[in-house]
Symmetry: D2
Subunit: 184 residues, 4 copies
C-alpha cells in the first residue's frame, strides 16, 4: 500500500489535534498503509525557528516527506489560520516538498466560524508546495473530541462519520490503480 | 507622538526583512514616534514554540503590543504566505492583541508572484486580532534591497518611494487629530 | 458630514442583504451622513455583464463611487465568497475606485461556517481597489434577520448590537477631525 | 474517455481567456475527450444576474455540469480575483455542482502580481462546491498570448509548455484506471 506521513502542527503536548491525528492513523494503518507520525513540537525548537536547512533534524524531516506517498496535515486554528509551529516546519522544507503527493488537510478549533481557514489559509500553502492532489479536508470542533483518562479518544458521531469519510477518500486517492502503477 | 512596535518575522539574522524594518524605523523615529524594534528570532525558541502563555518572555511581548499605538508587521514570504516564525509569535498573543491599533503590513520576497500574500494571507490574521486600521502595505522584492558592508541598506528608487509613501500614511493614520484625541 | 454610498450586492429583490443595508442606512443618515443606496440588481443586466466601461450606467455608477467619502459593501455569501453580481459591478469600476475612501464590509449568510469570507475573500478585493481604511465588518446570520409584513426589519439583539457598533465605528472613521480636515 | 466542460468566465467577446480555453480544448479533444465549450457571456444577462434557479438556461447549464467528468474553469483576473461574471454563473449552480469532478483552474492577467488569485480566490470557491480533485492550475500573462488575424492563437514558449503540462495532468487525472473504473 502507501506510505503516509501524519503531521500534527500543534505546539501543545496535550493537544486535541495531536490525539485526533494519532486516532486517525489507526484507521489508515488498518487499511494497510504504513503510517509515520510526526509531531512538530517534538522537533528541537531552535531548529524549527532557525533557518538552518542543513541541520540533521531538518534533513531527516525532509526525507520523511520525500518518502511519503501521502501526507496528513493537521493543525489547530489560531488567529483564523494554521499554527505558526506547523508553518515553521513547512518553511524548512524544499519549495516542492509535496510534489506528486496526495494531501489530507485537517483542522481543529473552538468555533465553526473558522471552518474556512482550511480552504483559504492552509490549502494555498500546501498548493504552493506542489501537492498533486489535496483531497477534501475536515474541520473538527474541539467540543466534539473527548479525551478519556486512558488517553483514548472519542469523536462525536456526526464528526466521526465525516472524518471516516475524508480519511477513506484520502486512502483511495493514495492507492494507484494497477494500470497506472504499472505505467508510472 | 505615537509608540510604534516594529516586528520583524524573519528567522534569519542576516535577513533583508529585519534590515528593511530597522531602516524604516529611522524614518518613523525622525517623524517623532517612539519606535520599539522586535525581532522574533531573538525570542527564546522554546518559548515561541511552546504554548506557555505565562512565560515571562511571552508576557513581556504581550506588554509591548499592549503599549503600542501602531505595529509594523514585516515578514519574508515563504511558501506563498507569512513566515511560521512570525505566526508563532502572533499565536502566543491574546486574541485581540491588535484591538484599537493601526497596523502596517510589509513583506519581502524573491518574486512578484507572491505580492498577494499580504492581502490574502497576512491581513486576515491581523484582522482576526482586532486591528482598528490596517493601512495599505507594501511588498519589496529582495533584489531591490542592497545591504552594504557597513550594514546600511539601500532600496532601489521606485520601491524606496513606495515604502516612504506607505510609512508616511501609516504615520499619519497613527496620529490622532487634536479633536479626536481630546474626545477619546 | 460625509457622503456614504451603500452598495447591496444581492441578485434577489427580496434579499435580506438589501433590506439589512437599507435598515442600516437609516442609522447613518440619523448621524448626519448623506446616504446614497445602490442595489446592484437595479443596474441593467447586460451592462453589468458586458465589458462596456463607457456605458452611461457604468459612468454613473463610477461617479457615485467617486463622490463618496465612505462605501458600505454588503453581500450575501454564496459558495464561500461574495456574490458574482457584486463582483460584476466592482469589475466595471476603475482599478482604484476606492482610493482615499473608508469602507465597511458586511455579509449575510446561512451558516457561521462562512464568517471568514469577509476577511479572506471580500477584503482582498476591496484592498486591491485602493481603499484607505476598511473598518471591521460583520457577518449576520440569515436567521437573525426578521422581515415583517410591512417591510420593516428586526435584527436579533446580539447581532443588532454588533451591527450598531460596526456602523458607528465606520461613521467615526468617516468623519475627519477638524485639524486633519483643515490640513487636507 | 471523459466529458469535459470548458467554462470561460470572461465578459468580453474578444477576450484572451475565451480564446485560450478554446485553444486548449483542441488539445483535450485530441486526447479523446468530449469537450463542451461554455462561454459565460453567451448566457442571457438577466438570467445570470437574476436568482431564478428554475430558468431553462440555468437548468441547462446545471445539466452540463452534472454530465461532465471534468471542468476547466478559466477566468481573467480583475481586482485581484476571478471575474464577477464567472462567479455569477457558479452562484446559480447547486452547492455541490462539482462533487466527484476533476477541475482545472486557469487564469489570465496583465501582471504576475496576481498569480496567487488562483490559489487564494478561485480554488476556495471551487472547493466549496465539492470538487473531488482540483489539479495544479496555471496563470498566463496576457502578453504571452498572441491572437492572429485569422483568430488562431499562439502562446509564448515557456507559458505554452506549462499549459500543455497542466492540461495533460488534468487529462490523466480525468481518466480512471481500468481497475478503478470497473470497481466504481
Amino acid at each position: 500500500m502507501a506510505t503516509v506521513l501524519s503531521v500534527s502542527g500543534s505546539p501543545s503536548a496535550a493537544s486535541r489535534t495531536n490525539r485526533l491525528l494519532r486516532h486517525l492513523d489507526r484507521r489508515l494503518a488498518a487499511q494497510g498503509h504504513e503510517v509515520i507520525p510526526l509531531d512538530v513540537r517534538t522537533l528541537p525548537a531552535e531548529v524549527l525557528l532557525g533557518a538552518d536547512f542543513t541541520h540533521p533534524a531538518v534533513v531527516a524531516a525532509t526525507e520523511l516527506f520525500a518518502r511519503a506517498d501521502g501526507v496528513v496535515v493537521g493543525t489547530p486554528v489560531y488567529k483564523a489560520s494554521y499554527s505558526g509551529v506547523l508553518k515553521a516546519l513547512l518553511d524548512l522544507l524544499p519549495q516542492y516538498a509535496l510534489a506528486g503527493k496526495t494531501v489530507l488537510p485537517l483542522a481543529t478549533g473552538g468555533t465553526t466560524a473558522h471552518v474556512l481557514a482550511i480552504d483559504y489559509a492552509l490549502r494555498p500553502v500546501l498548493n504552493s508546495m506542489g501537492a498533486a492532489h489535496i483531497v477534501q479536508g475536515w474541520f473538527t470542533l474541539d467540543k466534539d473530541i473527548t479525551v478519556h483518562e486512558n488517553g483514548t479518544l472519542t469523536v462525536a458521531p456526526p464528526a466521526a462519520e465525516a472524518l471516516a469519510r475524508v480519511v477513506d477518500r484520502f486512502s483511495t486517492a493514495l492507492t494507484p490503480a494497477p494500470a497506472l502503477a504499472a505505467a508510472s
